[in-house]
């Protein structure tokens, strides 16, 4: 069912972005010059992932924050640094699971727009790393015939690496204020699995039980007024 839903999301995103992109390209208001721009820092955006705040509604066991800096290099290439924090406190009838950790991502975005360099429509790649720990208390085991048994699982720490491929767009809503979203495929590289105590949620990566996670980010960015024409 999830596969079908995600296929649906990607189809919708693809159609919207394709249509928008083709409309944009027909706009004749821009007359860019032909020469290649040198690779130099043309702007910095600071972003906050507002999608994470949906956890308050949909995943109350999780609190997470994520922020990013992107460095505009020639309007075509953007260096990106993203970092965040995630905390899980999940209390169920038969266990109390806690986890917390940080994540850090570094990568590049490639802008496919030629006529609208202050906006973005393109693809990106990231390398992500999460450092986190988790533990469980009040673990209740109730097998048939045996008396109930309660135990605890000691805290364990992990370093997880993954790769991300994303595509999305950013548009300037107000002066220096951008909104953007991206659809992401995350592929685990190492440190995800633990046969004894599989992490429930890896900060920045998502479900620990899956080697590939899909996701979407919703960002609000502030363009630091720097070197802007």
């Amino acid at each position: 069912m999830y596969k079908a839903i995600f296929r649906y999301i990607f189809s919708i995103l693809f159609i919207f972005t394709s249509v928008s992109f083709s409309f944009g390209q027909n706009d004749s208001l821009y007359v860019p010059k032909e020469e290649k721009e040198p690779l130099e820092l043309k702007g910095i955006k600071f972003g906050l992932n507002v999608g994470r705040f949906s956890d308050y509604l949909f995943k109350p066991e999780r609190i997470s924050y994520e922020a990013s800096f992107d460095f505009n290099l020639s309007h075509k290439y953007y260096g990106v640094i993203e970092a965040g924090y995630s905390e899980i406190d999940m209390e169920k009838d038969n266990y109390h699971y806690v986890s917390d950790g940080t994540f850090f991502k570094i990568g590049m975005d490639y802008n496919m727009l030629k006529k609208y360099p202050s906006d973005f429509f393109g693809v990106g790649v990231r390398l992500g790393r999460a450092d986190f720990k988790h533990s469980a208390q009040n673990v209740l085991i109730e097998p048939d015939h045996w008396p109930s048994y309660t135990t605890s699982i000691d805290s364990k720490s992990y370093n997880t690496y993954w790769l991300e491929v994303s595509f999305g767009l950013k548009g300037e809503l107000l002066k220096n204020v951008y909104f953007g979203w991206s659809a992401i495929v995350k592929i685990a590289v190492s440190g995800r699995e633990d046969v004894d105590f599989q992490p429930y949620d890896i900060p920045g990566f998502g479900k620990g039980a899956k080697s590939i996670n899909l996701g979407a980010n919703y960002y609000i960015y502030y363009q630091i007024p720097f070197n802007r024409k």
Binding site: F121, A136, V139, P143, D144, P147, I153, G171, D196
Partner: protein, 167 residues
């Protein structure tokens, strides 16, 4: 190099893009199943092989029951057994499980002692934790039991352990 600035994405377009995404995200999250649909018992299959003609004559297996001193009940072959097999879980609290074999048709009892290592495994957020085991050895008394063989020493929620007991 200079550009005439025209926002690529208008506010209307943003609304058009954001709303479907938010709605779909909400649908995905609301579709999450919070029920445990996986097997949570790690079972040991105990296969009973009767070669003693005296025991066969008294229908030893049909009246066989097993229990552990820590249980408040028993497993009766006539109710829960089939194909000469009984299934049960090992103690989650200890590395040793003692199982007593008794039959209404037989005068004596036999006991097996299963020694194993335990692992607590986080199966899923919905199901919580389960206990997987790896059998080291099994010892037994010899009133009716002739011998015993470990066929599969690993016991998980996906894979049943397997021992054969020859009477």
């Amino acid at each position: 190099m200079s550009f005439q600035r025209v926002p690529f994405i208008t506010k209307m377009k943003i609304i058009k893009y954001i709303l479907p995404l938010l709605i779909i995200t909400a649908i995905i999250i609301s579709c999450s199943d919070d029920q445990c649909n996986s097997e949570t018992d790690s079972l040991l299959k105990c296969e009973l092989i009767v070669t003693d003609t005296n025991l066969t004559a008294i229908k030893f297996i049909d009246s066989l029951s097993i229990y552990s001193p820590e249980w408040s009940d028993s497993i009766h072959y006539s109710e829960e057994g089939s194909d000469n097999c009984l299934l049960f879980t090992l103690s989650p609290e200890s590395d040793t499980t003692e199982i007593v074999f008794t039959s209404k048709q037989a005068e004596f009892k036999d006991t097996i002692y299963i020694y194993y290592q335990r692992e607590f495994v986080f199966l899923s957020p919905e199901c919580g934790f389960v206990v997987n085991c790896k059998i080291d050895t099994v010892l037994n008394t010899y009133n009716y039991i002739d011998s015993l063989k470990i066929i599969k020493d690993e016991i998980t929620t996906n894979v049943q352990g397997h021992i054969q007991i020859y009477f």
